[in-house]
Amino acid sequence: MQATLDASALKQITRALACLSRYGDELTIYATPDTLALSSTSQSQSAFCRFKYRRQFFSRYSLAHAELALDADEVVPAMGQLQTKNLLSILKHKTVEKTVEKCELVITDGDAPAQEEDEQDSLESRLTVRLHCKHGVVKTHRLLLQTPNSLLAPAIPDAQYHSRLTIGARAVRDMIEHFPLQRGPKSDPQLIWTFNEYDVEIRGMETIMTGKTGPQLATELIISAEEFDRYEVFDTPLTLSFHLREFNATVGFAEASSLPLAISFTDPASPVFIDLSGDLSESLSVISTSGLGAHGGERGVRGELGAEAADQSRADDGSGVRRARSMPPPSMMPPPSLPPPLSFRHQAQAQTRLQSRPPTARPPTARPSSASAARAREPLFLPSSQPTELEAGMHVPGARRGQGADAEPLFLPGTQLSQAAEQAIRDSGLGIEGMTAREFAAMLEDDGEEVDFGPGDADWEMGARVREGSLEIHDEIMEVEFEPTQLGGGTKVSWVSVCGWVFVRPID
């Protein structure tokens, strides 16, 4: 891969790297003939960030051997992984901004012969950063590239239930600045966001923030939804909480690039997605929520109800799924009995979401092939707007199982299943109930008892309808629910198990 950047593009890349360095230590570079993607996943895999640059962003961009390949799909992408800070320290150096006129990035494959006369042949892949400065001074940095240990990217779980917000970065910064957050590498503040119909309530996470210094100021901020350029929150009130370290990095980048933040999320247990789209670049940030959002009192009734379902799934598969309010007792709800009108009523409420729903009439058998084709073409990352791959997995679980290596979830099979289950049940509301039941039997076969409950991991709207039936198992499971809640507040790693990520590995 060879890419040439001018000074302004270099500045943008440097800014992106600064943002990525807040997400994780390792930077993954992935170059296809049309895009260069830089991504980083946090060590606890609780956050992910990716910047994609189109080839027009560069003054020159070419992928080695791209001309030789007959088919664009056959081009071998160039990839590598390195420590973000090594690259960043080169590009962020104070003299670079003043003196560098042009920057070349070259990925040299280890097994390919060296193309330049002064470059030694070696078995290691290298990223060469060549800075052309004023007066003909050339600075060449060669960084060793490792083989990326994972090319995983989170996929957006389902497109139809997304809440979407758009807001300027400056406005977000102004909100966050009200909170007296501790600085320093060790502090990792968290904020709880409650999205109501007309306003947003933001609170600091006192349990985390109260340190040795004793009780601190508890700040609560309520802002009108009008502050947002776009405010479509599904199922208000919705409470989320997530850590600010990565979020701030993205906000900082957006502010510096004057891009608005397009935030989308589904439910308190699923990650938050932030999209930043520029002319020639796009960025996707995914931050897992800590799932502690439900400790507000405002949803007592529903929270009670939802508790049991969460208990059920956790008690059964031990994956620590916390859906504080989302699920009714599964045993009460076999999928065939789902009242279809309910789903339609819901669609009426959310017209925009309906549009993104894929047509259910598509023959399921066609899915795996189209999905694998898509996989071959776009191996690393699922575009955020393309839910097909995930759906394919859900509609044809058999095929999905078969491609275990291809599409296995990165972590938390349990969580993933319940996500998938939800999706399928929603779809089942449109008339494919019978199929779903079989699917889930198949999907859940390894977690014995849960086969029965699986289909029940359904929409919470439906849970509300069958409230009476749930009362009998309600009490005994309550205590199970609280234990992990406390554990979950402790460290970042532990709430990874809480978040509902769906990772798809596109290639093997």
Partner: protein, 358 residues
């Protein structure tokens, strides 16, 4: 000898602002043990690192407002030292003593305004003035202008005659072997004064690196900023730094494609770095090199020079046949003194190459 009173002190020197002296001393402050040599021409402060690197700061007489040197009347050396100490070879005729350099610098900055590096002092003053808006460049600069204006009429004009912002005046004296180095410091006439006595030690023999022993094979004069930036950009995990000099390409064709005149090369844990400098007048003022020169040095040693490079304007980089590196960094004084007499001090680094380089 030493009890004869003021006049017979071996060394007396005074300066109205220690900033410049501090800059020179800090340039060699990577090792505590420093040997000060006094001659009639000025002072030299030498530190040594790992028997490989020798750094000497030359503080010429002209830098001081007042400088008097009366060699000790040692019977053995009296005869020789009566001549002016102008011989390059130092054979014991200069008065040499050892001081802990860190202590000396601490004492000199006792009033706190000597600045960590002389060029930054003004800058820091602005910042402390507007610490609230430091993040905002534009605001900061406008405030700086304001604060300048505010304090302008009161004392700005008169201060200009006395070298801008207030400095610490210093007078140092050394009576002779066995006596402490005495510093008398004051910020202004009416303010507090401080007297520091720094214990001196007998000078131990230092490493002797004579650069002129073998012929010079590479001689480059360049702006110090190039070298400073290069050293700061190199990965600190690098172990060795290789300096490669190439002769000019034959004829006047294809300068771009030819090898760079000067290349700095370093290999670190995560990769390698090369910095190429062409024979552009803006980059290399002069470059004398007959054939390819390639020597490696311990990066940590060369990096010792980076602090001195910060205040320096020009660097002369020479390598002799044995591979010994000589870096002479010119440290400009704030303003010309004593007419056309060039009193710019300089710091010289001499470093031995790594043996195993082929």
């Amino acid at each position: 000898m030493s009890d004869d009173g003021e006049v017979d002190k071996v060394l007396t020197a005074s300066v109205h602002d220690v900033k410049y002296v501090m800059g020179l001393l800090r340039g060699v402050q990577f090792e505590n043990r420093a040997t000060i040599r006094a001659t009639s021409g000025g002072l030299s402060v030498t530190v040594e690192e790992a028997r490989t690197l020798l750094a000497t700061a030359f503080i010429f007489k002209g830098i001081f407002d007042e400088y008097s040197y009366h060699p000790e009347a040692e019977p053995s050396s009296q005869a020789q030292s009566s001549q002016p100490a102008s011989q390059p070879q130092e054979e014991g005729e200069p008065t040499a003593f050892e001081v802990p350099l860190n202590t000396l610098i601490e004492c000199l900055s006792i009033f706190g305004n000597a600045g960590s590096s002389s060029s930054n002092t003004k800058h820091r003053l602005w910042h402390t003035g507007n610490s609230d808006q430091e993040d905002n460049q534009e605001e900061g600069s406008s405030n700086r202008a304001n604060s300048r204006q505010n304090k302008g009429p009161a004392n700005g004009r008169i201060d200009q005659y006395f070298g801008g912002d207030k400095g610490t005046g210093m007078r140092l004296s050394y009576v002779g072997a066995g006596h402490p180095l005495t510093l008398f410091m004051a910020e202004d006439a009416s303010g507090p004064t401080a007297t520091c006595e720094i214990t001196t030690f007998e000078a131990e023999p230092m490493l002797e690196l004579d650069f002129l022993e073998s012929p010079t094979v590479l001689k480059i004069i360049l702006k110090s900023s190039w070298l400073r930036d290069a050293l700061s950009e190199l990965d600190p995990t690098c172990e060795r730094l290789t300096i490669i000099g190439n002769p000019p390409p034959p004829g006047r064709v294809a300068r771009v494609s030819g090898p760079p005149r000067l290349r700095l090369q370093a290999v670190g844990t995560f990769g390698s770095t090369e910095m190429d400098y062409p024979s552009d007048k803006e980059v290399l003022e002069t470059c004398d090199c007959e054939q390819q020169v390639r020597f490696s040095y311990v990066f940590k040693h060369i990096a010792c020079a980076s602090r001195a490079l910060q205040n320096s304007t020009k660097t002369s980089l020479r390598i002799n046949e044995e591979g010994m590196l000589s870096l002479q960094l010119i440290m400009p004084t704030a303003r010309p003194r004593h007419g056309g007499n060039n009193t710019d001090g300089f710091i010289e680094f001499r470093c031995l190459p790594l043996d195993d380089d082929s």
